[in-house]
Symmetry: C2
Subunit: 397 residues, 2 copies
């Protein structure tokens, strides 16, 4: 072929390919422009009309306020990714996402991630999808494990300063992690910062889950009492621990994400449960609330309790709002319900206060006696063997 | 630039663009090959490992059986799309999707659809996304309104014959529609066919919802008793009906989808509630069950009741499983709970049996006295004005 003809052919081909690529990318990219002001106008093209309708219906006073909030989601797995998507679709101001995992095909039994994202980091893949869904939301993603020392410091810094207005703290931290260390790291950070957070969890057998609202000083923190789980009444003897993976279901995780997603808390409508469980085997949803433990092993929790007491005492009497009945746990009160996942001996071997619990809620394990830095994952207990087993279980949770 | 250098540059550019385009397209297409046999192998690349783990944990006996089931989802909106995604990720055999709506940006406040899909039919957009997520699932989509006469016949035919093995009925019908006529059409079809189905609904103010399992002849059908809704204790006076849209939240819809998604029913684990409500304002989840009404206006329902009685009578005594306590509704028993959405006068003007209801559940409206074909949407009532208002409300539901 003559050189000029070849050049012309190649140039045409480049133009064609560029067009095709642009079209291909347009299809995937944000299909809507940013929207400066939320409108209640009822048109097919208004992505906020069904949300702004909550105002007209008397559910939410000032829906637009959602745009001023920042939420940190720690763990972008089966629960965290769906919660982040819900917040994105609700028009949250800013999302901080923390995770160090990669998307795998083995995650495809839960909502959100798609097979073509396998191999990408979870935070990257999530940011890409969420930006497409709502370009009005700001994202800040961190692809690291919050439990290592350096990362923990950076995590603390971002929680304290990462709001829409840099230098201000986030409005809420959501724990959607799948292990004990990460939960303890979040607990430690939030106790130190006085940061309100919500914890969530789904059982290893996929059929129960819970959420818990933790207001440092006001409600029990993760170290105040044994973490509570919803008993599924399953014979756990069939469950072998080594070399197996946890089961999961998109249904249970979707329900827990829906329970966790906190537009209610941020926008101040309805009640927010301190503890809400879900037993998918019996469609049972126990609720409860729990006061903090004055002997909590986390000294920042005890400090927050003092602050809260002072604040409460300083409040004029008429302002005191009637609270729902709370379960006060008494120290060394061994009114333990039998826990399906742990033998009675194991439970007795572990120490720490155990609250009286409503039907269907059990302790996952108890807190070791001695105060120690749980971020490092070190544990000391009177009866070491059984507690270690217990902790190993929690780590695999 | 010299010709050879220019040629080389262009050729390199073409190769680059071809690669990019291929990667871009690979990204959108199914990123995994079909899988012939579900495996429990714990590897990152096995999309079924976390589901097959349910067997090892003693939750499900034969998880692979999910591949033999066909589910019809009627209405692919905020609840239906998420339910279809959950079933797809669970590895259901076949999904039939029915909807006649188009994706709009106004739907973006709920999970599932993406802005770039605006303008596509909901069933097409859903099929595209779901096939990418799990190419092992078979899809059959129908872009029509099931309530018109022709479509209703075709709908009946597909419910009766559209299973994996053509000619066999589907295993379950899920009603995820947003209006009264469509619910009645599904009810009529399922009563005639003796087809088990589940109904779902989310309130216009976005903060409550419910699911209901209907086994023709065994549990109350949609015409047996006034449809039940979960009262949200909201002052409905602030709600104007004309020219407004219903509010919706991804959270409530996600929770209802999770409650509806029926791997439990199909795979026979846990209990399946006959009625499960969700009040998002109070985190309240009422349950109940209801026997069919011997005077039901649907003659096929009455026929199914006769069949069920005969079947029960023929069953050997020892096989009779103890049933949970059921609420038997008595005819002309006016023990009505006050309904937040409807005035007492309106309620009295409408007729039909009203069951005694547990706390938190109310009737949405009552059934008109005369037996008539509700598919056409015609209604006759003693006090026409108030009932018409009532029905108009339901149509907007």
């Amino acid at each position: 072929m003559a050189e000029p003809a070849r050049l012309e052919r190649l140039e045409r081909r480049v133009r064609e390919l560029e067009e095709e690529l642009a079209r291909e990318r347009r299809g995937r990219a944000a299909a809507r422009a940013r929207i400066d002001t939320m409108s209640a106008e009822v048109t097919d093209s208004n992505p906020y009309s069904r949300l702004m309708a909550l105002k007209r219906m008397g559910i939410v006073k000032d829906y637009e306020k959602i745009r001023t909030f920042t939420v940190a989601v720690v763990g972008v797995g089966g629960v965290g990714s769906v919660t982040a998507e819900m917040l994105t679709r609700c028009g949250i101001g800013k999302l901080l996402l923390f995770d160090y995992d990669k998307v795998e095909l083995a995650n495809m039994n839960r909502l959100f991630f798609q097979p073509h994202q396998a191999g990408l980091s979870k935070v990257q893949a999530a940011e890409h999808t969420l930006r497409d869904i709502n370009p009005d939301v700001q994202f800040e993603v961190h692809n690291y494990n919050i439990t290592t020392l350096d990362n923990f410091e950076h995590f603390m810094d971002r929680i304290s300063n990462g709001a829409l207005e840099e230098g201000k703290p986030v409005d809420l931290v959501l724990s959607c992690v799948d292990n004990f260390e990460a939960r303890m790291a979040i607990n430690t950070a939030c106790n130190e910062l006085g940061q309100i957070w919500m914890e969530s969890g789904v059982s290893e057998n996929a059929v129960s889950g819970h959420i818990q609202l933790i207001i440092p000083g006001e409600s029990a923190c993760f170290a105040c009492a044994p973490p509570l789980v919803v008993a599924a009444n399953i014979d756990e003897k069939t469950l072998k621990r080594e070399g197996v993976c946890a089961a999961s279901l998109p249904t249970t995780m979707g329900v827990v994400a829906g329970m966790l997603c906190v537009s209610r808390y941020l926008l101040n409508f309805g009640t927010v449960s301190y503890y809400l469980g879900y037993n998918a085997m019996q469609d049972f949803f126990p609720t409860m609330s729990m006061k903090p433990n004055p002997q909590c092993s986390d000294h920042n929790c005890r400090k927050q309790q003092e602050n809260y007491k002072k604040k409460e005492a300083a409040r004029p009497k008429e302002e005191v709002i009637e609270k729902e009945e709370e379960i006060v746990h008494e120290d060394n009160d061994w009114g333990i319900e039998l826990v399906s996942e742990i033998s009675e001996d194991e439970l007795k071997a572990a120490s720490g206060p155990v609250p009286e619990l409503p039907e269907g809620i059990s302790v996952a394990y108890t807190i070791p006696d001695k105060e120690e830095n749980l971020i490092t994952g070190e544990t000391v207990a009177e009866s070491e063997e059984s507690l270690e087993e217990l902790m190993a279980k929690m780590r695999n949770m």
